[in-house]
Structure formats: structure tokens, C-alpha cells
Symmetry: C2
Subunit: 336 residues, 2 copies
Amino acid sequence: MHSGKQNFDLNQYIKGILSGDRATLSRAITLRESTLSEHKLLSEKLLKSLIKHTGNSIRIGVTGIPGAGKSTFIDVFGSYLIEKFNKKVAVLAVDPSSNENQGSILGDKTRMERLSRQKSAFIRPSPNKTILGGVNQYTRESMLFCEAAGYDIILIETVGVGQSEAKVHDMVDFLMMLQIVGGGDDLQAIKKGIYEKIDLILIHKADQNNKIEAEIEKVNFFKNFALFPKRDSGWHPRAQTCSSIEKTGISEVWNTIAEFEKITRENDSFFKNRKSQNSVWFHHLVANKIQDFITNQSDLKIEIKNLQKRIQNDEINSIEASERITETLKKIFGQV
Amino acid sequence: MHSGKQNFDLNQYIKGILSGDRATLSRAITLRESTLSEHKLLSEKLLKSLIKHTGNSIRIGVTGIPGAGKSTFIDVFGSYLIEKFNKKVAVLAVDPSSNENQGSILGDKTRMERLSRQKSAFIRPSPNKTILGGVNQYTRESMLFCEAAGYDIILIETVGVGQSEAKVHDMVDFLMMLQIVGGGDDLQAIKKGIYEKIDLILIHKADQNNKIEAEIEKVNFFKNFALFPKRDSGWHPRAQTCSSIEKTGISEVWNTIAEFEKITRENDSFFKNRKSQNSVWFHHLVANKIQDFITNQSDLKIEIKNLQKRIQNDEINSIEASERITETLKKIFGQV
């Protein structure tokens, strides 16, 4: 990505990010996503140096099925926050359909045309093809870099049903789901498990002839929500309507988030949630550390490569081969 | 799950599965999903004993967004295969919305009402809440158990866009995506990355007033597919229409799959694909082995627990805590 560019040292990264330089921010995220061990080491130092400058944003997840209009909404909503409140808005956009091509960067820029022209906006499309679509540890760490660079609104866009919600729920303060008017079939899929993670259902595209139907759906959502017990956070999920084209319901979304923040900060559930999210993050970091530690053992690397070859030659099956790995682990590390 | 039941030994599992007993099959899948190390050990032995009886099915992935009618299609399609060709059909159904509740088992049964009454059908809803929604290693291993039990058609149902397709693509022979008539917005999301994984786009709900529109969409898909280079497998993706309610287009789906199987078996890409899928599986198995080996070290367990506590008490941040893990790994295993 930055071939031909001079390598940055730790201080250049720190200085660049803390001064809010978007190019450095972008480079730091790329560095963190790198699989090279020197990059890992440097990016970890960077994270450690910056962590005291993080946490000062409201972290918002925006989810919904393809076609729900997430990008359009983020374009309008982000621009509104910048123009009206002088906020700095970072968007971590996930585009799971781009696993196998690199075409999404331009795509995301043009999908959020208005926002991408704002000086106070930073739009980062999803990482490279090695990461399967949704959010992951790097999304969380990208978010921390954005916070250190002074962004006070972080919008994490994610696609899908179930998997993505669970993961993004582990890293945001507030999770909203966009729903299209008349997408009734989707309701079957939105069962208890997802409901419990969503703070706001936003019935999108509530414009033109859709307005009345959108209002009816809103009421239905409220009825459904009423069936669920009150959450420990004191927040009860809501449903609202919104049109990004007609720009209606936009400020109301912000009002709801602000109210959520006020309530949960006052009763401390805001920080309780962030703390428990830190545990999840730690868990991922540990898994990585272990994986790195082990797979750096050259004996094991060679063994894995050999076994891969033997599987391809039908000399051994995968399950037998995996047993050999346990043997090799014992041989390398001894029976601890 | 089988509390109160007598524990099966390896031979009982083998005998039960090879005789096609559905209760034993179901129990074996539960055993494999267990996190208890004795269950892991037993299920691995079972897999190893059964592996020579696997591989004799056609493995079909059925994907599409919520509301596309996947369950309804599988209900009709599976019943057709049983009634017309005397096939044995196993359905591994994924219900990502049920992460937090256990209510999906009945749900899946009733969603596939006709199929669930068939003696030659086996329907297994998605695993428990520890597995995030989509398909995973256990789905592949469940599939192997089903094959050993004599099922010759395996249907893997999965929801979502991007993530799930990539994962299910790593374990099936043939991947179809259900698309609703008029779901035009979804097309934007189906970019090159997903196209490249799909063997058949099935335009579903092509009934009543939708028929003409469905035909138009089919032609559009063909036009899109024409833009892509021919695959190494010799297969060029297709688009077809289908109605599960009117039962039209069902036999045509089977004809396409049969043709796919014939072509890819003749040019050997069928087995090449399965071999490269075995490598992916091995990769997952290795990751598990390493994780198991390491986390069974009690010193490390204690250290992780302590650090979790200190993170909760704000005495240390996650990134610093994860560095301690590397130190502990070095202390336990030495600088190998």
C-alpha cells in the first residue's frame, strides 16, 4: 500500500495521528492489518502509546441487510453531524461483497459522496480480502486510532444478519438496525437474539408513498419490543422512521443517541459495557498472541506444510493430520 | 442435551451412524460440538473411524438474504428428491438469529414441515449459541457424519451476504443463491466477490404476478454472468426461476446440479475442489489443536483470569495485558 513511501517510525505515527492527519491515520490502520511481524510489533507499540487518547467518542453501529440504505443514511447522517454540531465523523465501512476484489474503496467513496468531501470526515472501507467481510479485532483497533485522531463520532457499518450484529455489538455503545419499509419478510428473521442487541430500529426509506406504512411498522416494532424485559442498562429499544432522501427523521436519530448516552452515562452502564467489551478484545488479543507464538516455531511450520502436501496427495486425511500436530506440539514444547 | 441418557461408547456411535439411525447421528453432532475434552477426544476418534464412509454425497449450499424463502425451497426441493429419486436428504440449517435463545429447533422443524415428516430426511438446526450464526468447522463435520449415515444429498442452509457465502463455499460442491423477484436493491450488494462463488442464482417466488419480472431478472443475471471469465471448473454460473408454492422450476434445479456434477466429475475439478477444501478444514483443525494445547496449560489459564480481573478494575489495559501473555508463554515454554 505504501510502497515507495518512506517508512514511518513510531513517533511520526503518533505525531501524525494526534494532529489529526488523515493520511497517517489511514497508514496506521494499514500497518495494524499487516501480517508482517515487524508491523505487528510497531502497531502494537502505537496502540499502547495512543490508548490514553482513546475512548472519547460515541461508537455507533449501523447494521441492516443489503439494500437497506446504510451508506446513504451514513452519508446524510454524518454530514448532518458535521454541519450542525461541528463533529468529527469517522466511518469504518464494511463491504463483505468485496472479498475477492479491491474495487470497494472507490465504491465506498462514491457511495458516501457528500460525506467524503467533508474535511471533518474520515471514511475507511473494510480491510483486505484476508478478513471475511464483517467486523473484527482490527475494526475495534481502527476505531481506537480514529479516536486518538480526534474523531468524536465513530460509525461502524456492517452488513448481514446474526454474525455481524453480534460482533459489532461487542465494540459499539449504540447499535441501530436499518429496516426497509415493507421488508416484512425480514421480520421473521429478526428474532429474539438480534432484538436483544439492537438499541434502535430505524425504518428507512420512509418517504413518498411509504410514509403511512412506515408508521404502522414503527408501531408494530414498539409492540414487539414491549414483550422484552427491561435491560440492565435502563434503555428500552426504540423504533423510528427516517428518510435519507427527504432528510426527515435525521435529527431525531441523533436525539435518541444523545438521550441514550445521557441515560447510560448517568447510571454507569455506558462504562460497564465498555469494560466488558475490553474483555472481549483482550480475549482476541490473547488468541492472536498464542497463534503467533506457536506458528513462529519453525519445526511446526515445516510440519504443517508437509501435512498439507500429504493431504493433497491423498496420503493422509485432515483429521489424522491434525493429530500429528498435537504430537509435534508435545515434541517441541514437551509435556508441560 | 442427553442428560439422563446412558453415555454411548465409540462402537455404539459407529454402529448407530452406519446403520443410519437418526438419533445417534444427532447425538454424534452434539458430541462433536461439545467443549468438554473427553467429548472432543471421542468425537475425533469417531470422525477418524467414519471418514472412509464419507464423501459419497453431493454437497449443496443454499444461501440468500432473510425472506428469500430458503426454508420453503428446501422443504419442497428436499421432498422432491426423496419422492422422485428415493434420495436420503440431510439439511444442516443455520439460523443465525437464534444466538441467544434455543427456540430455533422447533422453528426449523415447522419451517420445513413436509420434509420433517419424511423418513429419509434428517434436519439439523444450527449449533448452540457459542457458534456465531453461520457455518463453521462443525457444519463440515456434521456433514461428514451425515454422509457416513448414508445421506446422499446434503443441503447446507446459510443466511447473509459475504461472510456466510465464503465459508459455505469452502465446504460444498455446488452453491446456489436464492433471490426474490424484485429484490433489485440486493443486486448492488452482489458484487464480483460473491458472483464468483455462486453456481446458480435461483430467482425464487416466481409465481402469480411475478413471472414476467422473474424472467426479465433471469436474463439480466445471464448478462451479468457473461461479463465474468470462464472458471477453471468449466462451469459457468446460471440463473433460473422457481416457485416453491406453485412447484415450478424444482426439477430444473436438480437437472442443473446433476449437469454440474457430471461436468466437474469428468474434468476432475469436482475432486480438485474437495481436496482444496480439505486443506481449509485441516487449517481449522490445526488452529483448534494449538488453542487446546496451549489453553490447557494451567499457569496460562490462571494468568489470563488474573489479567481479565485487572482489566475490569482498570489496573491495566487490554493491549498491555496481552503483552503479558507473550511473556507468560515464553516463561512456560522457554524461548524455543
